[in-house]
């Protein structure tokens, strides 16, 4: 299928992009890497009259750190994020997820912000960003607002963005104290495939080895990537034992609400949430020891 006709524009600033987006009120789409949008347009799922590229906005691809935060710009590619030393050091689950999304070519074009804004339940970078309490900086013609990632996903392909809004960057708070985190992806048909289950887990340990804070996020098993809050609560203040890990994994699986589709069955997905949650926690534990 050929690409339908559309008008293409390349604003020089985010404000200009937001104005354009507002001007075309629902008939325009933002394009960063285009790896999702173009496929949608070819298949007739997305039909924007205007496509607004962020490619000419200076600094939009920056990944910058302050003493307390890391900011990932809207045009930072999956490959750039995966290879960034600070991401690898402080946010290993994100580095891993960005490194296993799609193919080399897709990682060189696709962006992390785009992966989030596409709001696929299976987005690889979604569960890592959830465990790092990521905040989305959203710009509109009137100004900026901050949306917690946990509030950002509203359904498959749906986000909290309203008309005229686009994401400028993602902000991650640099961790204090000892934290361990990782991403577990299951794509059983091929190493180059969509995750049928993705689990990220973060554990912050106190000096006694007890768990100070826990985050578990599950992907591909609900209409949106989401945190397994009950499972997280079970962990806080605990020492990690095999029994605790097994119990937490079972609760995480209960928190999943998967469906059967052509890639996997509901049963299998739910069961794999437990397996991957356990593996994520075990890996955190190994790294802590």
């Amino acid at each position: 299928m050929s690409l339908p006709k559309f008008t293409y524009c390349e604003p020089k600033t985010l404000e200009e992009a937001a104005l354009k987006l507002a001007e075309y009120d629902g008939r325009a789409r933002i394009v960063a890497g285009g790896t999702d949008l173009l496929l949608g347009m070819r298949r007739g799922i997305a039909k924007p009259e205007v496509v607004i590229s962020l490619a000419r906005i200076a600094g939009a691809n920056a990944i910058v750190a302050s003493a307390t935060e890391l900011r990932i710009g809207a045009m930072a590619t999956l490959a750039e994020v995966a290879q960034h030393p600070l991401v690898q050091q402080h946010f290993p689950a994100l580095a891993c997820a960005a490194a296993v999304t799609g193919t080399v070519q897709i990682r060189n074009m696709g962006t992390v912000v785009g992966n989030i804004c596409n709001a696929s339940p299976s987005a690889d970078t979604a569960t890592p960003l959830l465990i790092y309490d990521a905040k989305m900086i959203v710009v509109a013609p009137g100004g900026e607002r901050t949306v917690a990632l946990a509030e950002f996903f509203r359904g498959p392909g749906k986000t909290a963005l309203t008309q005229g809004e686009l994401v400028k960057e993602i902000v991650l708070k640099l961790p204090s104290g000892t934290t361990r985190s990782n991403y577990q992806k299951l794509s059983p048909r091929s190493k180059v495939d969509i995750a049928i289950v993705g689990v990220s887990a973060l554990l912050a340990f106190s000096e006694t080895g007890a768990i100070r804070r826990a985050r578990i996020a599950i992907g591909s098993v609900a209409p949106v990537p989401k945190r397994a809050l009950e499972a997280e609560n079970m962990l806080e203040g605990c020492q990690l034992t095999p029994e605790v890990i097994a119990a937490v994994a079972a609760v995480a699986a209960k928190e999943a609400a998967p469906i059967t589709d052509m890639r996997a069955s509901e049963d299998y997905r739910r069961s794999m949430v437990a397996v991957l949650t356990r593996r994520a926690l075990q890996q955190n534990q190994r790294e802590q020891q």
Partner: protein, 763 residues
Amino acid sequence: MSQNNSAMKVVGQSIPRIDAPIKATGKARYTGDMKLPGMLYGKMLFSSVPHASIVRIDVSKALALPGVKDVIVGKDTPGIKFGNWRLFPATQDELPLAIDKVRFIGDAVAAVAAISQDIADEAIGLIEVEYAPLPAVYTIEDSLAAGAPLIHDENKELTNNISLDRKIDVGDVDAAFATADYVREDTVFVHAVSHAYMEPCAVLVEPDTEGRLTIWTSTQTPYIVQCLLASTLAIPENHVRVVKPYIGGGFGGKMELRPWDFCASLLARRTGRPVRFVLTRVEEFEVGRRRHGMKIRSKVAFKKDGTLIAKDFEAYLDGGAYNSMGPTATFLCGNFGAMLYRYPNYRYRGHHVYTNKPPAGAMRGFGAPQALYLSETQMNIAAEELGIDPIELRLKNAMVTGDVIEGVTRISSAGFVESLHKVAEMTNWKEKRASLAPNKGIGIGCYSFISGGVFNWFNTQYNFASCEIRAYSDGTAHLLTMAADIGQGSDTVLRQIMAQDLGLDPEQIRLTAADVTMTPKADLGTWGSRVTLMNGNAVLDATQKMRAELAKMVSLRFNLNVIHEVAFADGRVFAKAQPAKGISFGEAVTMWVKANRGEELVVRGHYTPRDLGLTSPAYSFGAQVAEVEVDPETGVVTVEKVSTAHDCGTVINPLAVEGQLEGAIQMGLGYALCEQFVMRDGKTLNTTFLDYKVPAAEDMPAIASAAIETYEPQGPLGAKEAGEGLAIPTAPAVSDAVWHATGYRCKDLPITPEKILRATGKL
């Protein structure tokens, strides 16, 4: 056949493919890259319903769309059916455009030609078709159930949905079973998969003012397209010139006339303008041919010591809505069921069943991957139950050179025993099979395959393979052949065979391939792993004639005693025993031309297999071992290593054979583990590479291989096939390795993680 007496200098060398640079740099021009002045863009309308009568088609809105030049429907066509089995016209059951009935989601209903692709696409959406739905069936069971709708009720000879049966009876199967010590019966279901060739089908047709057509089409079989296009258009064959451009793979999916070939041709004749169709990947997955899904039952009988004494084999092929290449697959499935081992008593019953799904056609292995998945799995089960090592059990029963299957085949060379020994040695089989780490498994699968078919269901009056060689005074030569290189490498290999036999450098050979009005008639095309053997023999027939002519010149020039052999090497023609008595190839050509008063030196070579049984002139053999690790919690199978020892006769080009092997393993892994069509009510749901999952480069295992060289007397310089056979053993080998790791024996391909977990009680 006499051969050049000089040493092998070109054959056996890993010469890179002639087409490698142009393809690697993106310069190769495929049909979809071609554009002609005034060219129109075509688009097909495919049926959206699985089974229905066509009540009404209204194309007026489409015709009224500015830029649309023509729209055709079934009633605009001569209404002539086609199919590759011309010898049996009743099997020709497909119309290029449906007239009164559609039988699957994808049956061609109409076609548009417009001044741009966008307009053609839009026009398709404006065609109104009113269907009166008919009951539809999607499985073999439903299709054969009492009261099932007759999918081809127009064929009064059919009383049910079985379009064709095939029987083989060798010996007395029932008597043999009565004397058996051990009997094993299994039924398996093997699934349909896609060829997933890189280049979607495309065709460009240019009409001339007298109604003749030049057609560039992505085909494996230019000659078959020429003949069937002429018959469906009701014009002389000689009005149809099919030229094969570069082809991005076929694997059996491009060996028939296809509706877009016909529609582009008819639209070109009607509009007087060139017309091009390029299918999308989604269309390929929705309407494209596929490998036959089959339900196969096999019962085998052994003596206590492991000697096979009988086999009773029955296959139901899920053929989809038309015969396509199903009759050949039904025939070959039975032949392959009898291969690899000596079955003194053998019975086969094959049934080709219509269903309201896209037709299954030929696909790499052509009935063998299915038959041998069951045969090999059953050998492995039997080995376990008899307490005999699976390789030992195979060695006990392996076919050897000189074996004959009465009424089916004769084996003129077989390196199967050697392959089994070699692969055991390469993999340290005995030790690994006996003791492996938890969740690791090692398994075996074997294959045999034909080097071309001797059957002539296409009913050509011409030789099966032909070529012409022209030689020139500058020391170069020109090979003209209808052999179709679709990516398998025949252009390179045929040039090697010719260069070897004429003592030339391959680069001195110009090649014109597969232009049906310019290259000698005929060649049945690229399928059944026939090209190296058949066209290779045709080339050698021609080079032999060429050598005879040029030898006369050297004989005369040096007044050679008649007892001398004349040899051809390094661009020279000389007395073998006295190399100084010789001249360059070009000088010899000049002498011949002068001696013949200015005539160009042209020879022709032909090959048709005669009196060589019912199946093939020659058979390849091989054994493959797969080593896997299965994650016991997720069921994910990682194939770590695949080792192959195989007999393809003389290896003409080791690099090309390696390429075939790697591609075959990739395809075999997809068949075993991850490829399948997801269908609902006759509709294919996974129509992109996102959801039709083929193994990627990252999924490929380590690969080890060893060639067992035999000399095949029927083959060119001793060569046999190395194309399709290698795609067969991977699925049974991986399946056996998964069993070895988990205890799960797959009888319902593909082997998915979920199936493993359910079988092992983990889900």
